[in-house]
Symmetry: C2
Subunit: 295 residues, 2 copies
């Protein structure tokens, strides 16, 4: 039984006559190949990556498992080729999810002039140029009654650096809907920061593991690729060990590194690491907690 994903926060959405990803109940995610050559480029990446013996095992966990391609009935009703991937949120009941596109430049050097102009415009209008990354979508589970805090795409699209800093705090807060009022100190409480961002298995530790790889790897350059941060609030509170996951997704614009590191991705990653470290430092100062943060 195929259906549209429950926890998609960014990207094309399947709908009546609209092509978008589907999931099944066995934990698989079906991503329709995009019409231009992006779809085939993404398949080419997954094929290359899954057979590349130079990828360390501890790095593979950051990528969705690839199950090949399949022609199947798409969300539009007609047959269409799909990339079959691991459904990253299938094991989660109420996942909090954040999608962050990495790199101050989202276009590869060999792209067409029209595509470069389009990307450059988006990079300049978003936080990609100033921050080295931009937010593409997010949802934060509050509780069964309130459900999710999920800012609208139109808001996400217009976020400036201060908004991004605030939303990275809201992602690990029990009160993500709380608005800062003038003269009030009521803001996101960051009560989950040390569980989600901190700790030996937290998001910061995982980003640092990836950073070490990106300082050395010259196999791939990842343009317009995103991080997904995923965690389950219930588990975060119950279990000291973090259940937070970091995954990389969207590989339609990956090119050969040709012996050069992916300085564009690495720069954005280091910037994101600094944002998250700052939140952990502030949180530690406020709470007087915890020895879990490892830098």
């Amino acid at each position: 039984m195929l259906k549209t994903p429950d926890h998609q926060v960014a990207g094309h959405e399947a709908g009546l006559g609209k092509l978008g990803p589907l999931i099944d109940d066995s934990g698989r995610f079906y991503k329709p190949l995009q019409g231009d050559n992006r779809g085939s480029e993404e398949v080419a990446f997954y094929e290359s990556f899954s057979s590349n013996t130079n990828i360390p095992e501890h790095i593979r966990k950051f990528f969705p498992i690839y199950h090949g391609t399949k022609i199947m009935k798409a969300s539009t009703g007609s047959d269409h080729p799909h990339i079959v991937l691991q459904d990253l949120t299938s094991a989660r009941a109420n996942p909090s999810v954040m999608d962050i596109k990495i790199g101050s430049r989202t276009w590869a050097p060999g792209a067409s002039e029209a595509y470069i102009a389009k990307c450059l415009k988006k990079d300049r209008e978003s936080t990609s140029i100033p921050l080295g990354f931009r937010l593409s979508g997010m949802q934060v589970f509050i509780n069964d009654e309130s459900g999710f805090y999920k800012p609208h795409r139109n808001y996400i699209r217009k976020t400036d650096p201060n908004d991004v800093r605030l939303l990275l705090r809201k992602f690990v807060s029990s009160n993500p809907s709380a608005e800062m009022e003038t003269g009030s100190s009521l803001g996101p409480d960051c009560s989950l920061a040390s569980f989600v961002y901190g700790g030996p298995n937290g998001i910061l530790a995982q980003l640092l593991e990836l950073k070490a790889w990106f300082e050395d790897q010259t196999v791939y350059h990842f343009y317009a690729c995103s991080f997904l941060f995923i965690f389950e609030k219930r588990l975060a509170l119950k279990d000291a060990r973090s259940n937070a996951e970091v995954k990389l997704i969207d590989f339609a614009h990956v090119i050969d590194g040709n012996g050069v590191i992916d300085h564009n991705f690495l720069g954005g990653l280091c910037s994101l690491i600094k944002f998250i470290s700052d939140i952990l430092s502030e949180t530690k100062e406020c709470n007087g907690t915890n020895g879990q943060v490892e830098l």
Copy 2:
């Protein structure tokens, strides 16, 4: 007594009716303020930097000493304001010098559309986009008889990633003029690599020190800023301790970091570090030498 610098490898050169830097015999370098507001921007940076108490002492050594500004007779013959700086090569007899412009993007977000278009074109035509840095000039001392290997500006301007890799090797070779012949293994011998790039005081160690600062500092964003690598061959061979220096120059496009790291500079720096590490690894493999490289 003012004269034109002996060891300038990039930038405007003083000449008949042409504004360019001058040096005196007391070790000072006089850089004329550029006509648009670049000159005043650079003065503003030096003023800010020299009085900023958040700059760690071990980082200051990477910047030229600033002695204020002075209105004086310029290379054109008329009075003109100059920035007075430390002459970085004054203590050297036959310095080998390399000028490397850092960052895949040389324009700041707030620049004019015309300026952005001009920079973007240069970034794309050079190695700035693919490598995160580009070569602006170099000279390598060979010996008293042959003097310097100094590739022409027109050649430097057209270097591709492979040329840059080769020139980074030539910079630390005793035979920088040797050309690779088809089927021949005659290439730059990298005989000085471990003395200049390697070792506890070598260029790689200094770049790693700067990298650690750039991972954390959010005070300045350095656009179109360059590294100068300087060493004296005679000293490199005589003394195991490296005499290689790394300096940062050209601050006409430095902007406030606003709490964000300089991911554009950091990405380019990490890419350059990888290039230099690669040369050291290859050299070690070939020579079976040395324990000097510290990563």
